[in-house]
Symmetry: C2
Subunit: 208 residues, 2 copies
DNA sequence: GTCTATATGGCGATAGAC
DNA sequence: GTCTATCGCCATATAGAC
């Protein structure tokens, strides 16, 4: 039926917004129903329980993130350009979805089971990601642990956005524009910081 | 009364644990009461409502963190040693309190009002912190924005611990010991990474 | 101050008409 | 498929005895 897909889509979109903003515990079925412009009992008609609805939304979200990471490892692009591309892409995404990083970090620690299902469904294979990266790093002379490389960049991109209220209030005295400008400036400064660091790893012995 | 202080202290400790692990929304007054070894209604006798109890705990927590940061800016210690000291201290603290970073990031985004009260009470003054740091960085020849310096280090320390379940499962295939060893190894590798990067900033023009 | 018992409200979920 | 009405539970909060 036409209506089926449409309504389910409206529910999914509303649920996605509410869950991300309020978390599993804080979200209310009523609020999701309101935002979807339908009745509360219709939610249960489509997704029997709140937990099932949450699992559905969460797994779709993880899936999308996994896909984005895969796309990152195209060949023929220098490390520096990959860093630049990654940093710019994710800062933009996270600026548009300010609740996303906290949501994922949080649900994943409070409800670890969701990980096994969600990530398994997304078929994320770290080895497929780290092996070629390690090769490329070595080929360009950077003798750094690829895990450090990836995690440090992820950290510097995500943390200041996950900690937005803290930074905004403490470092920028509540000035939202100053905060946003600073985050945008990090598109350049993170790349600079990373490439400076990588320069140091050129001097190191190859280690494995 | 003797009993008053003792009971209040037991409640505070229990509430702290439960709130940090489950968050404001996930925490249950019953669980706090059980953990404190008292009756549920006694909680309300001491702290009229759950919200008031939460605010009390949260503000105390922020206060302690603020104090720790202040202590960090002692004179007569090189940048490298400060980085080393900070990284080691906080990795140890966060390993012992695995739910802490998520708790703070989360409550602070979901309930931004708590920030104003909590941080205001803790009388955190960023200028008092950044100004001497900037001086020292310049004095040692590192022409880096002190905000980048601080935020990058904070990011690299906190993020891998806030994202523990993700790293543990995806990068280390569920091997908890491998994850913990890796985090401990970061005590050295973060300092290395930062100092390599700082080397690059030595070549830059002084900018202000 | 500390307990037992209970009120009160909210939320997830279901029944049933249309 | 979509709605209204309602159930049943659970969590916060209060009343009142001791």
């Amino acid at each position: 039926m036409e209506k089926e897909l449409l309504t389910e889509e409206k529910i999914a979109e509303a649920a996605r917004e509410v869950f991300i903003e309020k978390g599993m515990n804080g979200a209310r079925m009523q609020e999701i129903a309101d935002k979807a412009g339908i009745n509360k009992s219709l939610l249960h008609y489509y997704f029997r329980t709140k937990e099932k609805l949450f699992a559905f939304i969460f797994s779709k979200l993880i899936h999308r993130i996994g896909d984005r990471l895969e796309n990152l490892m195209q060949e023929g692009v220098s490390i520096e350009d990959k860093v630049k591309g990654y940093v710019e892409l994710y800062i933009d995404i996270l600026l548009k979805n300010p609740f996303l990083p906290n949501f994922i970090l949080n649900e994943v620690t409070r409800n670890p089971d969701a990980i096994f299902e969600g990530f398994a469904a997304a078929k994320i294979n770290p080895q497929k990601f780290f092996a070629p990266l390690e090769n490329q790093l070595k080929a360009e002379g950077y003798n750094i642990d690829p895990r450090d490389f990836v995690i440090n960049i992820l950290s510097m991109v995500i943390f200041p956005l996950a900690g937005r209220p803290i930074l905004e209030h403490i470092v920028f005295n509540g000035d939202k524009k100053a905060y946003k400008d600073y985050i945008l400036s990090r598109k350049k400064s993170i790349v600079e910081f990373v490439m400076f660091a990588l320069e140091g790893y050129k001097k190191l012995e190859v280690r494995d």
